[in-house]
Subunit: 142 residues, 4 copies
């Protein structure tokens, strides 16, 4: 699965096992990732989290399902100037059509950012979609 | 003011006039900005908004003040596959130490993303506060 | 449509006209709404925005559709100790299954809070749901 | 420390020990907390998290310091119609002027909501800073 922007930023992806809802991305800090203050640009950290959330959710998708980012909020806790960034992502909640994921980004033992996001899940097949929607309604109306 | 990551992603910055709290960034979609679904990666849109918010706030900073992103939430409203992205940013609230900014990203007339973020403003003062700022930097760089 | 919590907090709702995606809620500050610092509790402001977003989106729902809050982020810009709170809400984006809304809360001319949220839209009828999902897929895959 | 709005909503607060950065709030679901769909209103869940975050941060404040909510994002994962809500809050990051906290709200073993928020910390100092804090208060109370 080619990801041109991930290649441009330069991070590597280690997807969790099927169904795990987990994914880790890593990125070695290099000069092109810095902002005018000499610290890693928030866009590079965000890109790691966004891609990792999509990949983590992907481990839980059924045949034919796909997902898209709805929104992500990211907090920057510490400036990063060098080292290897590691973004650990986990599934917080998996509904039939909406999922919530969180990412913790760290350099060594120091957490430098945290993100919490929402993804939409699409299930292409009509008959399946209506069944899924039915299940969702039942769950919501409990 | 060199911004290596902005150059890597490829967006241009038009800062608002002094005190305006405004900034516009533009980015021409190109293949390296796409994700595996063939649409512009959220990280590229986020980078435009983050940089634009910092630049918009910068138009309101006094001599010696500087700012840093605390958190940003971005919503992706429409997938983008081509065209020129335009990110318009404005200051929502300017406190003495905290500012809130919002960005609207569009392609032509179609809005494709919206972001709302918080920035911290630091005002190093001659003696005492430069010491405080120093302590802050040490803590931040641990 | 009875809303016990809205009655407990005490805000009034003025829904926009059918299809407007707009709603305004108002709330007179009274002692029970204050936090330990003597300012209106964030939960009261959040409740106004959450209810107003749901009502604003409701003006755009088709027969049988209903909606639920997915997430909302609210920024507190100024403390409020007295006066009439007014929350103006508008639809930012209306997809077939996801909507984004924003609220501005003010007292007189002073903006005191701003919220940006995501809602999910559910369309009960199977055959309709699959048709809607199909339309969504086409739009997303453009 | 009187909290009229917390009393109105009806939740109880168990603050963590000094320095823990932790707090738990609990709330028994009752009819006045419901929204028109018959589930607990998001404003009640938000109020629990907002108060708990402030109280958790308070366990880390020095003499004379105080804090205020900057922004909070809350995700609603499951509808709640009855039972005892428990909101567990922890400090994610404590800077000198900014703190990040997260809350997990559950009913029994089921997580129903998650929040991630930013707080500002104010440290009035004898002369100069109390003047600054005074200016801040004046600005905030305009």
């Amino acid at each position: 699965m080619k990801n041109p922007f991930a290649e441009l930023v330069g991070f590597a992806l280690q997807m969790g096992r099927r169904g795990s809802g987990a994914c880790t991305t890593t990125l070695d800090v290099r000069p092109e990732l810095l902002n005018p203050n000499g610290v890693v640009h928030g866009g590079a950290l965000f890109a790691m989290a966004d891609t990792a959330m999509g990949a983590a959710l992907h481990t839980t998708l059924s045949q034919g399902e796909y997902c898209a980012t709805v929104e992500i909020k990211i907090h920057f806790l510490q400036p990063v100037t060098k080292g290897k960034l590691r973004c650990r992502t986990r599934l917080v909640h998996r509904g039939s059509r909406i999922a919530v994921l969180e990412s913790h980004i760290s350099v060594g033992r120091l957490q430098v950012a945290q993100a919490l996001g929402t993804f939409a899940i699409f299930a292409p097949r009509p008959q399946k979609t209506s069944a899924v929607a039915g299940a969702k309604r039942r769950r919501l109306s409990q």
